[in-house]
């Protein structure tokens, strides 16, 4: 494809050239991720305050999380980020089919993560740890355990929602590639979704030790 063809196909209003358009898209994703940091920071602050106020109850609650499944899921998500990075690497040298393969593997790893997460929720709800009417956990720290699991389900649930949106975006990229989009010269969409995917991975990197490794040292 000649450069003129790519410009005709990809350039949208109001941008003067593709470089301008790509940089704007990139900056837009960074701005969005910046607001996402603040979105998750509310949960992080709530967690910090309650953990500081009720250390024993939080440690007890942390020991009821599924550390094996959580650790496997961390590995799955870190590996998915590798394939996302490989997908961006592939399209930068114009390997469109290879990129589609890597995007598909990334999406499948994302789905595996969600599957394991559902298994975890199933076990925890079965143990009566879902806050509200189904909460049956008893003991001296029951109220604090309930607060912890409220934050747990909120944080991991919102994270899973983010991941689901990411998986949808990956399949959208695959579909767009099949329709003829994305070349070595212009692939801002792939880079944007990549940034988002790595961000969601990085959020989990912080969620993981705060939730699953809590109270394991006693």
């Amino acid at each position: 494809m000649t450069e003129r063809h790519i410009v005709e196909k990809e350039l949208a209003e109001p941008y003067a050239d593709l470089r301008h358009q790509k940089q704007t898209a990139n900056l837009g994703v960074w701005a969005f991720l910046s607001t996402e940091v603040l979105f998750f920071s509310g949960l992080l602050t709530a967690y910090s305050v309650y953990r500081f106020l009720y250390p024993q109850g939080f440690a007890e609650a942390g020991r009821h999380t599924e550390v094996l499944l959580g650790s496997i899921n961390t590995g799955v998500l870190l590996t998915s980020s590798l394939f996302m990075a490989l997908a961006v690497h592939a399209i930068r040298s114009g390997a469109r089919r290879l990129m589609m393969l890597f995007l598909l593997i990334t999406a499948l790893l994302g789905l595996a993560f969600l599957g394991i997460k559902i298994l975890e929720y199933y076990k925890e709800i079965g143990e009566g740890l879902l806050p509200g009417v189904f909460f049956t956990y008893a003991g001296p720290y029951a109220h604090t355990v309930e607060i912890f699991f409220f934050i747990y389900f909120m944080a991991t649930g919102i994270h899973a929602l983010h991941l689901s949106i990411g998986i949808g975006a990956l399949f959208f990229l695959i579909w767009r590639t099949r329709c003829g989009s994305f070349t070595a010269e212009y692939h801002a969409g792939v880079e944007g979704v990549g940034l988002y995917w790595h961000f969601v991975d990085a959020v989990w990197v912080f969620i993981y030790p705060l939730i699953y490794l809590l109270g394991r040292n006693t």
Binding site: Q23, N26, L27, V29, W30, A31, L33, S34, T35, E36, V37, L38, S41, G42, L44, T45, S48, V49, F52, L53, Y54, V67, S71, T74, G75, L78, T79, S81, L82, M84, A85, L86, V88, H89, R92, S93, G94, A184, E185, E191, G192, G194, L195, H198, D201, A202, V205, F206, Y208, P209, L210, Y212, L213, R216, N217, T218
Partner: protein, 96 residues
């Protein structure tokens, strides 16, 4: 514009991330009291730094992108800092 960039840094980054994951699991079970939290957050920060430095590298061309991303972290620290300044100094009154 076709360029052959090495793929090796991506594999090294992945290996480092998996090693840090093993390290944080191991560290989580050591009986170190309050130091466990410090260690696990330090390892998480190192993992996030690897993700940003290597996996996100192609999308970090703009300096303004740095301003945007550091802005988010700056306000996160303000939120944690000011909330902590309140709760950490009067928690004794709240908890019997």
């Amino acid at each position: 514009m076709t360029r052959a960039e090495p793929r090796r840094p991506l594999y090294f980054a992945w290996a480092a991330l998996m090693s840090l994951l093993a390290l944080t699991i191991f560290g989580g079970y050591l009986k170190l009291g309050g130091a466990n939290l410090f260690i696990s957050v330090a390892i998480a920060t190192a993992k996030a730094a690897i993700i940003i430095a290597i996996f996100m590298k192609p999308a970090r061309e703009l300096r303004l992108g740095w301003v945007f991303s550091l802005g988010g972290i700056f306000f996160l620290l303000i939120m944690l800092g000011l909330t902590g300044a309140d709760y950490l100094t009067r928690a004794q009154d709240l908890v019997p």
